[in-house]
Subunit: 223 residues, 2 copies
DNA sequence: GGCGCGTGTAACCGGTTTGTCACCGGCATT
DNA sequence: AATGCCGGTGACAAACCGGTTACACGCGCC
């Protein structure tokens, strides 16, 4: 189990790392935002612990950058009582939030709870109904047709819809999951992406059978 | 979305219930541990908010009892700084933990995060009497009739009324909840919306049987 | 440089939804 | 009876929404 710890306070960083390492986690440390993002990409950890107050690039920005790429559990740290921060962090897709100062035991308990919860629901299926995704090849196959090449964004959109196959997914959530947190306004992006994806996967793009418009979003139809 | 709130402090219980109801959740209240467990079995809510300090049967015991039957998200409440409690609660399988006192905003943000993590923030049909809402499809079904398509505002109005089924809801509150902060006075909007909704759900829109005009507002009649 | 590709942005269309106005009738008060 | 208030109704216009076409930008690659 790999954990990325990002905090500019060396003492705290070491305390956390020590605690986690002692419990058996493999810890990767980052001292600032940019290197956190970079390490995240290189190491793809299973969980991220993120201080909000970092010079250069705030924990919010890091969280946003991470959410643009992954649904890995993120735990944010900040000083006690900044309610705004809490609301904002959770809105950005963070999964938990811990007030400083905290004890190692508390941190461990929450990290375990987070991993337990995440373990319960990651490994999103890559296939449903007649649709199956190939993340390596960047292709999708419908029924027994030929694989169709997808772009990065198309793949991500399809992956999100596939993870909720049969159920409609809110436009807002799709925007967050596919692009990262561009709040509002950017419906056009989603419109376009859906349009382009339909051209590729629908037998008749004018009458979508797979990628249907649903109230407040889209859904993947599976028989 | 059904939420069970268990707390022996009536004021706090009401505050939480009010906040959640206003957001559109259907709230079930319990004043002590045993009735919380009982209500949990009967109502099978989608989320449980649990005070730790309850007479008779502690929140821990309730949490344990619930975990024995279900993996429903559980949020624990207790006084600030009892770290032992936190560790114990998370160890028992609780999913989150909130220190009192907390603000309604914080509670809401965390509950939403919890539901999102559990992957069930939509598609739970709300129902009361012969009326059942499908938030995912934007439809309402009366008795065993065909589902009727609703618009965004109609759905929101019905959701609010459904959350308080059987009780009249003040016009002012409906305005705030459906449209967001409109400086009052704009009753015309509500009049129209009610009118349009009645056209869709009433057998005889001229003699409303479900969506009745009540003192200073409207109410949903459930038998 | 020229090319194709992936992505973002703008503009338009047709249909739906929503906001606004004007008017009606019941009811209580004057 | 006149008045004012309130809820209900019909009609219309403005705003919005999803789909679509077209085009611009940045980028890697011949």
């Amino acid at each position: 189990m790999k954990v990325l710890v990002a905090d500019d306070d060396a003492d705290l960083r070491d305390l956390i790392s020590f605690t986690l390492a002692q419990t058996g986690y493999l810890v990767i440390k980052a001292a600032d935002g940019p290197s956190a993002v970079q390490l995240f990409e290189r190491e793809s950890p299973d969980l991220v612990v993120l201080d909000i107050n970092m010079p250069g690039m705030s924990g919010f920005q890091v969280c946003e950058a991470i959410r643009r790429r992954s649904r890995v559990p993120v735990m944010m740290l900040t000083v006690r009582g900044e309610e705004e921060d809490l609301v904002r962090a959770l809105g950005l897709g963070a999964d938990d939030y811990l007030n400083k100062p905290f004890s190692p035991r508390t941190l461990l308990a929450r990290i375990k709870a987070l991993l337990r919860r995440a373990g319960m629901e990651n490994n999103a299926p890559l296939a449903a109904g007649r649709i199956s995704l190939d993340l390596e090849e960047y292709t999708v196959t419908i029924g027994n047709g030929a694989p169709v090449r997808l772009t990065k964004l198309e793949l991500r959109l399809l992956q999100m819809l596939l993870a909720n196959a049969g159920h409609s997914v809110n436009s807002e959530r799709l925007l967050v999951q596919v692009w990262g947190h561009r709040s509002g306004g950017d419906r056009q992006l989603l419109k376009q992406l859906v349009h382009r994806l339909r051209q590729k996967i629908e037998a008749d793009p004018a009458a979508p059978a797979l990628l249907r418009t649903a109230a407040a979003g889209y859904k993947l139809v599976v028989e």
